[in-house]
């Protein structure tokens, strides 16, 4: 899965309605919260086979920080 495809999957799963990009700050994102974070962890596992520890996602400040957790696993 490509990085932008992963982002789109995230947007659909969390139902993010506003325009976002890698610089979007999570604390300004209405739909971001603990359930969104868990959903993202589940998506990393399902689509990239990655088990990201919760502590890593807690450190993320922007959408870009989150996408970076996918590392080498994107196509």
């Amino acid at each position: 899965m490509k990085k932008d495809e992963f982002l789109q999957t995230m947007i659909d799963a969390i139902e993010i309605e506003e325009e976002i990009n890698e610089n979007t700050e999570l604390e300004n994102l209405e739909e971001w919260g603990s359930l969104a974070a868990v959903t993202t962890l589940a998506l990393f596992n399902k689509f990239l086979g990655l088990k990201i520890p919760a502590s890593e996602i807690k450190k993320a400040k922007t959408i870009g920080d989150i996408l970076q957790l996918g590392g080498e696993k994107y196509d």
Partner: protein
């Protein structure tokens, strides 16, 4: 004075880690022979090597998520190989983090296979005269999440609720064949299964459990193993078809 005799032979799934592993230790120390079932041969052998009485522990490799058809045949083979069983503990379990927006049917089926259906396949064989001793004691490791499923881990709660109903249903159906069935519902325990489990509070799961329990302590596998041993022993003979909570008061908070 030990709880069990040389004749006691107890089957445990999930023997390679967590609650299952501690239960293997407890039961062998209390005089029972144990057959452990898990997938990881290396961990099982390490467990055997580490026991005070390694001769009381043998293991068989079986993946409970695999072809469900072979599970009950495997139990018949185990009874032929080691002898008729006097106890069964279902300590195998998986917890999938799966919020509904990403609910995956295949993952849910796997959760049900491991946590619930495999126990039924095992008992299908175990309840036969050729596989059980006169009295067979069964303990399911359920969870308080069977009463209150965790957000984003609903599948786990569903499977555990299934175990609770199974306890009652099987007691009513086959209890009169001298089969005693009970379940335990622990709260949060520090094991590989709960590692990295992400709670709504954003706190570490075990820290959150610790904050909720009455004594502000974390749940330990030893406490759970102690109760399992009690429920397998003749000391608990008159307890039938029950789900017993053992959570340090976590559910009350």
């Amino acid at each position: 004075m030990t709880k069990f005799t040389n004749d006691d032979l107890i089957l445990i799934t999930g023997a390679s880690g967590g609650i299952g592993e501690t239960t293997v230790r407890k039961l062998t120390e209390e005089g029972a022979s144990v057959i452990g079932i898990a997938r990881d041969e290396e961990k099982l052998q390490q467990l055997k090597n580490s026991l005070k009485q390694p001769e009381k522990f043998n293991y068989e490799i079986l993946d409970l998520a695999s072809n469900m058809d072979i599970i009950s045949e495997k139990i018949i083979e185990i009874a032929e190989k080691y002898g008729k069983l006097s106890g069964f503990v279902h300590a195998a379990g998986v917890l999938s983090v799966m919020p509904i927006s990403v609910w995956d049917y295949e993952t849910a089926i796997r959760d049900f296979n491991i946590n619930l259906f495999s126990a039924i396949e095992i008992i299908k064989a175990l309840q036969k005269k050729k596989c059980k001793q006169e009295l067979l004691n069964i303990v399911f490791v359920s969870s308080i999440s069977s009463y209150k499923p965790h957000p984003a881990a609903i599948s786990y709660g569903l499977t555990k609720a299934g175990l609770n109903a199974l306890t009652v249903g099987l007691t009513r159906e086959i209890g009169n064949k001298k089969i005693r069935i009970n379940a335990i519902t622990p709260g949060g325990i520090d094991t590989n299964m709960t590692k990295n489990y992400f709670q709504n509070s954003g706190k570490d799961y075990i820290q959150e459990v610790t904050d909720k329990t009455i004594f502000n302590e974390a749940g330990k596998t030893q406490y759970i193993a102690d109760l399992i041993a009690f429920l397998l022993s003749k000391e608990s003979y008159w307890i039938q078809g029950q789900c017993i909570t053992i959570d340090g008061g976590e559910y009350l908070s």
